[in-house]
């Protein structure tokens, strides 16, 4: 192999890839862009809910990531690193547009009586439906319900229950205290539970 040429196989090796990126190798850059754009775009879309803004977030993320490539530490993969930068770019947008404020969703939250006892008794089937088609329909229904959550709650749910961020990481990214983050996550989950309950109780068919 030629000295300056890096082969495709070498770039499959994450360490080599990072080395080439740090050296400013155009081919390595293009490879990462092609490999990661789809995933990053999906992550950005989920948060900002607008195609053009999601594109901007991904582009911004790539540019700021590769400006900072020298500080990349191989504790995580390049993909995970880019994912985090993209999500932060998307959250910045949401914060700038003041879309993360907590809006009231009281009618979706659990009800307690004056003594602190729960009023509602939910019915959940023991198992997921057996048919894959039906499970797919449920997931579709659930996505529609997630979309109905106000941005501040949807974001909390995504960061914690999908991206797997810790309370502290999510709180920092959202610019709120950890305690507030927990409350927001709890409300988001409780609200989503209320929204998807009809499909469990058979009020809505999957």
């Amino acid at each position: 192999m030629e000295r300056s040429e890096t082969g495709q196989q070498d770039l499959d090796d994450e360490a080599v890839l990072v080395e080439r990126l740090k050296a400013g190798d155009e081919r390595a850059y293009e490879l990462v862009v092609r490999r990661e754009t789809g995933r990053l775009l999906a992550a950005a879309r989920r948060l900002v809910r607008d195609e053009a803004t999601a594109h901007d977030c991904v582009q911004e993320a790539f540019l700021s990531a590769f400006r900072a490539i020298d500080s990349f530490e191989p504790r995580s993969s390049v993909g995970a690193w880019l994912n985090r930068i993209t999500i932060n770019a998307a959250l910045m947008r949401l914060r700038k547009e003041r879309r993360l404020a907590e809006t009231p969703i009281d009618d979706l939250l659990p009800v307690f009586d004056a003594d602190g006892w729960r009023r509602d008794l939910v019915d959940v089937p023991d198992d997921d439906p057996e048919s894959e088609l039906e499970r797919r329909r449920i997931r579709e229904f659930v996505r529609a319900k997630i979309d109905m959550l106000p941005d501040g709650y949807r974001t909390a749910l995504i960061l914690r229950d999908l991206e797997g961020w810790s309370t502290r990481e999510a709180a920092e990214a959202l610019g709120i205290a950890e305690g507030a983050m927990k409350v927001r996550l709890h409300r988001a989950r409780a609200a989503l539970k209320s929204l998807i309950e009809p499909i469990w109780t058979g009020e809505v068919s999957a």
Partner: protein, 120 residues
């Protein structure tokens, strides 16, 4: 769903027994928690962040209170199915990556390089 106020305990058809259990939980059982306290502890409980005493209280409440027992199952199911639903959407999105975005990102980098020049 409507809450009829009086006789709320009877809505699960086991009002009498349930009332007695609640009474027992409030007064007879040292350290028992209400449903509302249970609710406030859920995030930490599911994260495994509770100390042994608080964890035991949550678990005891789950055993004694049918409302919270079912609530926890629904809550847990909701967060699991949310993750599955969103991941499925990702898989769909991966099938069609917009080439114009890829090109824009590559072009932005080339332009950035030209604009930045050589600092040395």
């Amino acid at each position: 769903m409507s809450h009829t106020g009086s006789g709320g305990d009877g809505m699960d058809g086991r009002g009498g027994l349930w009332k007695r259990i609640r009474h027992w939980m409030s007064w007879g059982l040292h350290g028992a928690m209400t449903c509302e306290e249970f609710d406030r502890g859920l995030v930490d409980y599911l994260d495994g962040n509770l100390g042994p005493v608080a964890k035991r209280q949550i678990e005891l409440h789950t055993v004694l209170c049918p409302h919270c027992h079912r609530y926890l199952r629904a809550y847990d199911r909701a967060r699991r199915v949310a993750g599955e639903a969103l991941r499925e959407a990702d898989e769909e999105a991966l099938k069609t990556v917009p080439e114009d975005l890829v090109q824009a990102i590559l072009a932005a980098r080339r332009n950035g390089h030209e604009a930045a020049g050589d600092p040395g």
